[in-house]
C-alpha cells in the first residue's frame, strides 16, 4: 500500500537562496512524522510545499500514490491536508467560533447560519483543551482579545475542525505552555488512532522524542536521513542535522579565551531584564566578535535592542567602564553603538535614494547647516572605498547594487559614525554565499581594527566560523557559552535544542 503522502525530490529556490535542493519524505495514515533540521534547513519551505502555499520548482507530491499538485492552500485543504500555520490565519475582529468555521458555517434551511449548532460545535472543540484555557474563553470571544497561546490553540482547533487526513503542525507548540503541550500530545494520540497522519515540525528535541513515531532530517535543503524514532537517539539526530565539518566557507582565526581575557572590557551587562529577557549577564572585550545563537525567538533580538536602547529594560550595563542606560537609540548612537537591522530592505536602506544619501543618513548632523556637501561626499567616498563597494557612482540609487554591495552600504552608514560597538541582527539572512563570504571578510577586518561586534545569526555555521565565543540563548536566558574547542556546530545545535548527550562542553 502506498503511503498517504509521499514527497519526492522536491527543490525550491527563492531568488538567490536555494531553500530546498532535494527533499523527500513519506508519511502513513495513523503515524506522526517529525520533520527536523537546524535553523534554515528548509523545514518551513517543505511544509509550505506540502500545504500548497508554495509551488515547488522540481519534484513530486504523491497522495495515495497518485501525483497531485496544489495551486493554493485551499486545494490542499480540499485534498484533506490541513495546516496549523506559524503565521496565524485568524481574523482578529471575528470571534473564536466565526474564525473556526469561516467558509464552513453550518447553515439552516434558507441559508441563514445556524449559530446554535456553530456554538455547540465550537464548545466541543474548545473542550478538547478544557482546563488549560481561561474559563471565560467562549465561542463568542473576539480573537483580538486572546493571548498568543489561546490564539495558537484556536488555530489548531480550526485546522482539526475539517477532519483532515494529514495535519501539519509547524512549530505549533512554540507559544503553548507545558500543560497545553501535553494536552495537544494526548489529542495527537487520539487523532492518530483515528487514522490521521501528522507531520510535526519542532525545534524541541524532548517533544520530538515524546510524540514522533518516525523522523525525517533536513540539512541545507536536503533530506539526509529518515527512520524510526525507536532506533535512534537524540545525539544521532543532532549529528545528522549538523555533522562535524571543517570550517566551511568561513575562515577567521579565533582569538583564544586567554588572549581575550587580557583585553579591555567594552560592554558589561548584569541581570538584564525586559519583557522577554529574564536576567542576562555577559561581557564583551575590545575587538571581540561575540556570537549570539540559539533557536529563533529566544530573546536574541531583544538583547540587541536593549543594548541599543530600543526597548525598556532593567539591570546594570556599563560601556567602557561607565554605567549607561539608553532609553532611545539616539543616545546609544552618540555613545558609539550601532545596530544593523536584519531586514535590509525594510529597515536598513532607502532603496530608491542614492548611495551617498544612504551612507549619510545617520550622520547628516555632523555636516552643519547648510550641509557641507563637499566634505560629506569625501567621507562617503572614503567609506565606500574602504568597504570596496562596487558601484557606478555615489549618486547611483542603492537599488542598482547587488545584494552584497547593498549590505556593505547598510554597514557603511554606521561605520561613518565610527562605532566602537557594532550590533548585527541576523545580517546574512537571505543572502547568497558569495556575498556572505565578502561580508565575513569585512567583519574580520573590522574586528582587527578594534571594533567590537555582537552578532546574532540564525545560521549556525556562520556563528561558529566567525565568532570568538558564542552565547546560546534559551527562553530569555543565556543557557550556555561555547568557546575554544567546544565551539563546534554540533555543540551549538545540541545546546540550542537543550540536548547534552554526546556533547563535550
Amino acid at each position: 500500500m502506498p503511503p498517504l503522502l509521499a514527497v519526492r525530490n522536491v527543490a525550491k529556490r527563492y531568488g538567490a537562496v536555494q531553500a530546498l535542493i532535494d527533499a523527500s519524505l513519506d508519511v502513513d495514515a495513523g503515524e506522526t512524522l517529525a520533520l527536523i533540521g537546524a535553523n534554515g534547513s528548509g523545514k518551513s519551505t517543505l511544509s509550505k510545499v506540502i500545504n500548497g502555499v508554495v509551488a515547488p520548482d522540481r519534484g513530486q507530491l504523491l497522495l495515495d500514490g497518485r501525483a497531485v499538485r496544489f495551486d493554493s492552500p485551499h486545494a490542499a485543504k480540499d485534498a484533506g491536508i490541513s495546516t496549523v500555520f506559524q503565521e496565524l490565519s485568524l481574523v482578529p475582529q471575528l470571534t473564536v467560533a466565526e474564525n473556526i468555521w469561516l467558509t464552513r458555517e453550518p447553515l439552516r434551511r434558507g441559508g441563514l447560519i445556524d449559530r446554535r449548532t456553530e456554538r455547540r460545535r465550537t464548545e466541543e472543540l474548545l473542550s478538547l483543551f478544557a482546563g488549560t484555557l481561561r474559563a471565560d474563553l467562549t465561542p463568542d470571544t473576539p480573537v483580538f482579545a486572546l493571548l498568543p497561546d489561546e490564539r495558537q490553540i484556536v488555530e489548531i482547533l480550526k485546522a482539526i475542525s475539517v477532519n483532515p487526513r494529514l495535519l501539519i503542525l509547524d512549530e505549533a507548540t512554540a507559544s503553548l505552555d507545558s500543560r497545553q503541550v501535553q494536552r495537544l500530545f494526548e489529542l495527537i494520540g487520539q487523532w492518530k488512532a483515528q487514522g490521521t497522519a501528522i507531520i510535526f515540525i519542532s525545534h524541541r528535541m524532548t517533544e520530538i522524542e515524546q510524540i514522533a513515531d518516525r523522523y525525517s532530517v533536513l540539512r541545507n535543503g536536503q533530506t539526509v536521513g529518515a527512520g524510526s524514532m525507536k532506533e535512534t537517539t537524540a545525539s544521532d539526530l543532532v549529528t545528522l542535522m549538523a555533522p562535524e565539518t571543517a570550517g566551511g566557507a568561513v575562515e577567521r582565526r579565533r582569538a583564544s579565551p586567554d588572549a581575550l581575557a587580557t583585553r579591555r572590557v567594552v560592554l558589561q551587562i548584569e541581570d538584564l531584564r525586559t519583557s522577554v529577557l529574564r536576567g542576562v549577564s555577559m561581557q564583551v572585550h575590545e575587538g571581540e566578535l561575540l556570537g549570539i545563537g540559539g533557536l529563533k525567538g529566544q530573546g536574541q533580538r531583544d538583547l540587541l535592542l536593549a543594548i541599543f536602547g530600543g526597548v525598556p529594560w532593567s539591570g546594570r550595563m556599563t560601556l567602557d567602564g561607565k554605567p549607561v542606560h539608553f532609553t532611545h537609540p539616539r543616545q546609544a548612537m552618540n555613545h558609539g553603538v550601532a545596530l544593523v537591522p536584519g531586514d535590509r530592505a525594510g529597515e536598513g536602506l532607502l532603496s530608491i535614494r542614492s548611495i551617498l544619501e544612504n551612507l549619510l543618513v545617520p550622520s547628516w548632523r555632523n555636516y552643519g547647516f547648510p550641509l557641507r556637501m563637499k566634505r560629506a561626499r569625501q567621507d562617503a567616498a572614503a567609506i565606500a572605498a574602504r568597504l570596496e563597494v562596487k558601484m557606478a557612482s555615489l549618486d547611483a540609487p542603492v537599488s542598482s547594487l547587488s545584494g552584497g554591495n547593498a549590505q556593505k552600504v547598510v554597514i557603511g552608514k554606521w561605520l561613518l559614525r565610527n562605532p566602537r560597538l557594532l550590533l548585527l541582527d541576523d545580517p546574512t539572512k537571505g543572502v547568497d554565499i558569495a556575498t556572505k563570504a565578502e561580508f565575513y571578510r569585512l567583519l574580520t577586518r573590522l574586528c582587527e581594527e578594534g571594533t567590537t561586534v555582537i552578532l546574532y545569526s540564525s545560521d549556525d555555521e556562520e556563528l561558529i566560523g566567525l565568532s570568538d565565543r558564542v552565547l546560546v540563548m534559551h527562553d530569555g536566558r543565556i543557557s550556555s557559552e561555547l568557546a575554544g574547542a567546544a565551539l563546534t556546530t554540533a555543540n551549538l545545535v545540541a545546546a540550542s535544542l537543550g540536548v547534552s548527550a554526546g556533547v563535550a562542553l
Binding site: 481574523v91 475582529q93 469561516l102 447560519i113 483580538f144
Partner: protein
C-alpha cells in the same frame, strides 16, 4: 494584549459612541426647537436626512469590507440628473418608475466599475473612487449642464408628506434597511464581509472569495447611492448636477461616527444611520443657534476627528492614570 472596557463595549456595540452623541444632539436640538417630536416636524427633518442615511449605509458596507468609496456623491448627482431630465415636472408615473429602475442600474454599474478596478485590478480604493468620482460628476454635468428639470408633484408629495401611524416614511425605510441587514449578518456573506475587511490574507488562506466580496461592496454602495439620489430628487423636486457633492464626506463622517473604523472589519449599519441623523441634527442646531454656516463644516470635521481619536484618547488617559 489586554483590551480596555471601552474597546470591548464598542466591539459588541459599535454604535455606542453614536448613540451617546445622538442623545446629546437630540436634547440640544429639542431645547432649541421644542416641537421636534411632533409628527410633522419629525417628518420635515427625517425626509431631509434620508438621502444621507441611504448613502451612509452603502459607505459603511464598503468600509466594513476594508475599502472606501469617494464616488458616492457623484453617483447621487448622476441619478439626480437622469431623473430630473428624463421624468421632468410633468412626467407620468410609469416613466418615473422606469427611470428609477434605470437610475438603480446606473448606480450599480458605477459601483461595479469601482469594484472591478479595486477588487480585480487591485488598485487603491481611495485613489480609484476619487478618480471615478470625476467621471461620474462629469457625466452628471453632461446630462444636466444647468440646474433644471424636476419631478412631478404627485411623486414629491408622496416622499415629503407620507406619515403612517405618526411615523414619517423615513422610519419605515430605516426599519427595512435594519431588517435586511439583520438577515445579511446571519448569512455567510455577512461573515465574509467582516473577514475580508478584518484580515484579507487570513480570509484568503481560509478560502473566502475575497475579490468577489470586495467587488460586491462597491456594487451595494452604488445601489445605495442611487437610492439616495432618488430620495434627493424627490426631496428637492428639481435637478442640479452638483447636488450630491457634499454627501461623500458626510457619508464617511456618518460611518465613522457610527463606529465603522477606516481600517475595516468592524462596525455595522445601525451606527452609520445614527451618524447621518446626528449630522442632520447638528445642522439644525447650528441654523437655530444663529451662527455662521461655516461652523457646520468646522463641527463636522471636529466630530470626525474626535470619533477617530476616541479609542486612542481613552487608552492614553488610562495609561496616565495607572
Amino acid at each position: 494584549m489586554k483590551q480596555s472596557r471601552w474597546q470591548q463595549a464598542t466591539y459588541r456595540h459599535p454604535y455606542l459612541f453614536a448613540l451617546l452623541l445622538l442623545v446629546a444632539a437630540f436634547i440640544a436640538n429639542a431645547l432649541l426647537q421644542p416641537n421636534l417630536l411632533e409628527p410633522t416636524t419629525l417628518n420635515r427633518n427625517m425626509r431631509v436626512f434620508l438621502p444621507l442615511i441611504l448613502v451612509a449605509v452603502g459607505q459603511a458596507i464598503v468600509m466594513i469590507g476594508g475599502g472606501i468609496d469617494i464616488s458616492v456623491g457623484s453617483i447621487v448627482s448622476v441619478v439626480n440628473a437622469i431623473l430630473a431630465t428624463q421624468i421632468g415636472l410633468s412626467g407620468d408615473l410609469s416613466t418615473a418608475g422606469v427611470m428609477m429602475g434605470v437610475a438603480l442600474l446606473v448606480g450599480m454599474g458605477a459601483g461595479a466599475l469601482n469594484g472591478l478596478f479595486i477588487a480585480y485590478l487591485r488598485l487603491q480604493p481611495i485613489i480609484t473612487t476619487f478618480a471615478t468620482s470625476f467621471i461620474y460628476a462629469g457625466l452628471a454635468l453632461f446630462i444636466l449642464p444647468n440646474p433644471g428639470g424636476g419631478a412631478p408633484s404627485r411623486l414629491t408629495a408622496f416622499y415629503r408628506e407620507t406619515i403612517i401611524l405618526w411615523l414619517p416614511l423615513a422610519f419605515y425605510v430605516i426599519a427595512l434597511i435594519l431588517l435586511i441587514w439583520a438577515v445579511v449578518r446571519r448569512t455567510r456573506y455577512g461573515r465574509y464581509l467582516y473577514a475580508v475587511g478584518g484580515k484579507a490574507d487570513a480570509a484568503y488562506e481560509t478560502g473566502v472569495p475575497v475579490r468577489a466580496v470586495q467587488f460586491s461592496t462597491y456594487v451595494i454602495s452604488g445601489l445605495m447611492a442611487a437610492l439616495g439620489g432618488i430620495a434627493m430628487t424627490l426631496l428637492t423636486g428639481s435637478g442640479n448636477a452638483q447636488v450630491g457633492d457634499p454627501l461623500t464626506l458626510s457619508s464617511i463622517t456618518a460611518a465613522v461616527i457610527g463606529g465603522t473604523p477606516l481600517s475595516g472589519g468592524a462596525g455595522g449599519v445601525a451606527g452609520p444611520i445614527m451618524g447621518a441623523i446626528i449630522l442632520g441634527l447638528i445642522r439644525n442646531i447650528i441654523s437655530f443657534a444663529n451662527v455662521a454656516t461655516w461652523w457646520q463644516t468646522f463641527v463636522n470635521a471636529a466630530i470626525i476627528v474626535l470619533a477617530l481619536a476616541m479609542p486612542g484618547i481613552i487608552n492614553l488617559v488610562r495609561r496616565r492614570t495607572r
